[in-house]
């Protein structure tokens, strides 16, 4: 597993600079672009936290916002809440994602292709709608499940309005991301190692423990890290559950104290966001330390690979049952509630009476509404273009971060993780601050949305690309270079095809996020280029939960179709059958 280690040292970044070949120029260009995309709004956010003037105006230096934020004892209580919430949600999502990915990719459990398709569905459901759906299932007074438990079993109600409820719902929201990252890594695994273990006398479980688990650790860490940070910055689920539960977490504090205040205080929002930046940077450092010996995980070599399928025998039906149970909680329950709400004039607890009031008029509204049609067009264009651009950039960043290890390339990866740290609303303020000052006519256009999407969600694409790149051995690239191919040709002909699982996983994640992105868009869009996310929110604000649910259903179905088509287009679908 240490093949090529010496070669890698000869390709360290400082010497490459000396040769001034295309690699250097491309690496430099990627670095500059990344620095601009991430550091500029980040610097403007820091500027905002230290300025006494609102966005768009010059101010004087002040520490007043830091004093206000960190002299409040409540700040430290909410930090503790946030850590419990994020750790719980990330842990639950990784557990569910790992189980689902293993059953789908590595076993002969019946229905795997269906599981994979369905597992993507919750990623396309806007978290706001998922959280709302679960409150209707687990509300102590009107929750469908609680009423059933009470009526049939006499059990006390479960309470979604609690920290446990928040962890549960956020964990479900985050599971698709964990699934996609871990499934991509499992799919890219060299089967000969497990075969060797079994030939040496190990059983399935022993081989899994000694071979599979260590090989999948980087992807699990990546999923856990990303989901932890994502939960820390999540606002959708806390907005629906935390406030009625009387629980404060970081994102609700930022929203409540700074962004929803009268008048709004962007400077204080920026100040709180700095804490999240520190947390995320610390996580990146931990992650990089753990995965520092990346050669340990190189499993794709020039010998070719196709992951083994584990024959579970009769247990394969149990595995399918477990996957169905997970997917039922993950997809079926929230989606059915969403469909139910989309067919009602207003929400009511299900009953025979309610069936008589079902209506399709919310869907009719979508068909007739120019605003809904325009929002779908804008969001689909942003999702297709943005996801492709972001993944190409992520591929290059992952290449330099993994292949050209050095201080500069390490900085590249850290830079690309920076946007993860910010709550969407706070990063939007940074972007607003940044692009309002820029003498380019992009503020108030769809282009600022595209830039913000690529900037903010680059890490979502980068993680699966890095996890996959770590597993692609450099001997293939070296062979291509030795045969005379330049960097771009090698990248296009050798690396990208090998990186396809990671590229596809990242593209699917980004597409589904972009289609329903809300927290950044709501600050940057204009009414003429309104994406789906803000429209969903405004339908909610407009007392139109039926229309909101109907649009959510339509967007979800579009996403499933597009992602399915994309997978088929790149040939990945064939491996699922």
């Amino acid at each position: 597993m240490q093949l090529g280690g010496a070669v890698s040292r000869t390709l360290a970044w400082p010497r490459a600079w000396g040769r001034a070949d295309a690699t250097v120029w491309i690496g430099g260009g990627v670095g500059v672009l990344l620095a601009f995309l991430t550091l500029y709004p980040t610097a403007m956010l820091f500027y905002g936290s230290l300025s006494d003037a609102p966005v768009g105006t010059l101010g004087r230096f002040t520490l007043a916002h830091y004093r206000a934020a960190y002299t409040d004892p409540a700040t430290y209580r909410l930090m503790a809440n946030s850590f419990v919430f994020a750790a719980g949600a990330a842990g639950l999502s990784v557990l569910l994602g790992l189980a689902l990915a293993w059953i789908t990719v590595r076993t002969n459990a019946p229905g795997r292709a269906l599981f994979e398709l369905v597992a993507l569905a919750p990623n396309v459901l806007p978290p706001l709608l998922v959280a709302t759906s679960w409150t209707l299932v687990l509300s102590p007074r009107i929750g469908i499940l609680n009423l059933t438990l009470l009526r049939w079993l006499g059990l006390p109600p479960l309470n979604v309005y609690s920290l446990g409820g928040m962890v549960f719902v956020e964990g479900l929201v985050l599971t698709p991301l964990a699934f996609l990252i871990i499934a991509a890594a499992l799919r890219a695994m060299d089967p000969s190692l497990e075969e060797a273990a079994r030939l040496a006398g190990s059983g399935h479980l022993d081989a899994a423990r000694r071979i599979t688990v260590p090989l999948v650790v980087p992807a699990v860490l990546a999923a856990g890290t990303l989901n932890f940070v994502r939960a820390i910055e999540s606002f959708d689920v806390p907005a629906v559950i935390a406030l009625p539960a009387g629980i404060e977490v970081f994102s609700t504090k930022i929203f409540r104290e700074a962004l929803a205040a009268f008048p709004p205080n962007h400077n204080l929002a920026a100040t709180y966001a700095v804490s999240q930046l520190v947390i995320a940077v610390a996580l990146v450092l931990v992650y990089r330390r753990i995965t520092g010996l990346s050669e340990r995980y190189a499993t794709i070599t020039g010998r070719g690979y196709r992951p083994n399928v584990v024959d579970l025998g009769r247990w394969r039906y149990v595995a399918s049952g477990a996957a169905l149970l997970i997917l039922g909680v993950l997809v079926v329950v929230p989606f059915l509630v969403l469909v139910y709400v989309s067919l009602l004039p207003f929400y009511e607890v299900p009953s025979w009476e309610v069936l008589g009031r079902l209506t399709g008029r919310h869907y009719a509204f979508l068909l007739q509404s120019d605003r809904a049609a325009r929002a779908l067009r804008v969001s689909l264009a942003l999702a297709l273009g943005g996801a492709t651009l972001a993944m190409l950039l992520a591929s290059l960043v992952a290449y330099f971060a993994v292949r050209r290890r050095g201080r500069l390339t390490g900085a590249l990866e850290a830079l690309s993780f920076v946007p993860w740290a910010f709550p969407g609303t706070a990063l939007a303020i940074g972007l607003l601050w940044a692009y309002v000052q820029l003498p380019l006519p992009i503020y108030g256009t769809v282009w600022i949305l595209l830039i913000s999407y690529v900037t903010r969600f680059l890490p979502y694409g980068l993680r699966p690309m890095t996890a996959t790149m770590v597993q692609v051995h450099r001997e293939l690239e070296e062979s291509s270079r030795v045969c005379g191919a330049g960097f771009l040709r090698t990248f296009q002909r050798v690396l990208l095809p090998l990186l396809k699982p990671g590229f596809l996983a990242g593209w699917a994640i980004l597409f589904t996020i972009y289609v329903r992105e809300f927290s950044t868009s709501v600050f940057l869009y204009t009414p003429r280029a309104e994406p789906v996310g803000p429209l969903l929110y405004h339908l909610w604000q407009d007392a139109q939960p039926g229309r909101m649910a109907a649009l959510g259903v339509v967007v979800s179905l579009i996403c499933v179709v597009v992602v399915g088509l994309a997978r088929r287009w790149v040939g990945e679908g064939k491996t699922l059958r």
Binding site: I142, Y161, L243, A260, F262, V522
Partner: protein, 336 residues
Amino acid sequence: MRKAKVLVGCLLVLWLGATALGQGPSDVVAAARREGRVVVYGSMESDIFEVVRKIYEGRYAVPVEYWRAPNTRVLDRVLTEVRTGRVGFDVVLTNAAAMKLMKRHGAFTRYASPSYEAFPRGSHDPDGVLSPAYRLTPISIVFNSRQLRPQDVPRSVLDLAEPRWRGRVLLADPTVNVIPATWLLGLRRQLGEAWRPFVERLAANSALVESVLEVAQKVIAGEYPVGVSFIKYVHLFGKEGAPLDYVRLDPVLALPSHVAVSSRAAHPAAARLFVDTLTSRAGLLALAQAGEFVLVPGVYPPIKDADKLRVLVLDEPSEEEFRRAREEFTALFRRR
């Protein structure tokens, strides 16, 4: 002087004759058509706004682009655009506190619509920037009429402090939302020394959500039997059969709303015509039909007993008063 202006329903307003604007001056209309559209930012619910849009587009054939958001978001967007000089709105309409703050930041220009002549002189903005308060939004206790028996319905706001309502009252978060904050500050003026113990008990009884709209939705769904929200939702949701009713408080407190034209409107003629239409008799009657309480004598929304309500217009607290109130409400509602 900070004293509440009592309006007994809408009867206190002297309607000086209909100024129904059948058509603006032809040169203004031609200019508006050349401008091609008008962009409106506001916090009025879209379905209610639709009635005004239909009248405007029907008259002038100029499309209206409406961006709807809660009042603090409208305020945030407008101030950001004004400060950065990238103004995208022609007209803004929301509650008085936000409008006055935006006015102070130079977001609006002076405009005296011919429609304003029909409003009482005392309701006019002395600076000629904001419209008169063309509508009021009364706030009351709303309840789920299927869950509560008539004898269980609270009769006054003080009833909400009783132990039987512990965990059963829903409020919009007064530590951030200007609407419940203004309502609670209005109650302070009514209740005097009894206010503080009342609010302490109310805080102990209440759960919080983000907006008054969410309050209405959760009460309709039955998650909470009572809440504090806008009376107009009784009509907005009630016409769909929602089990929502309201307590006939005496007096009922209401927030005033204004409209104004942007100081950097890209479509100034279309903007002025829009303000004319909104504040015209035809516009206000259409709003009333959609559930709004408008300042037209004898005209009420189709809500039971709307004509019997004694409406007290809330004074809009200043920015500094809001800051102090937030600290006080945070201590009461968020540190239980």
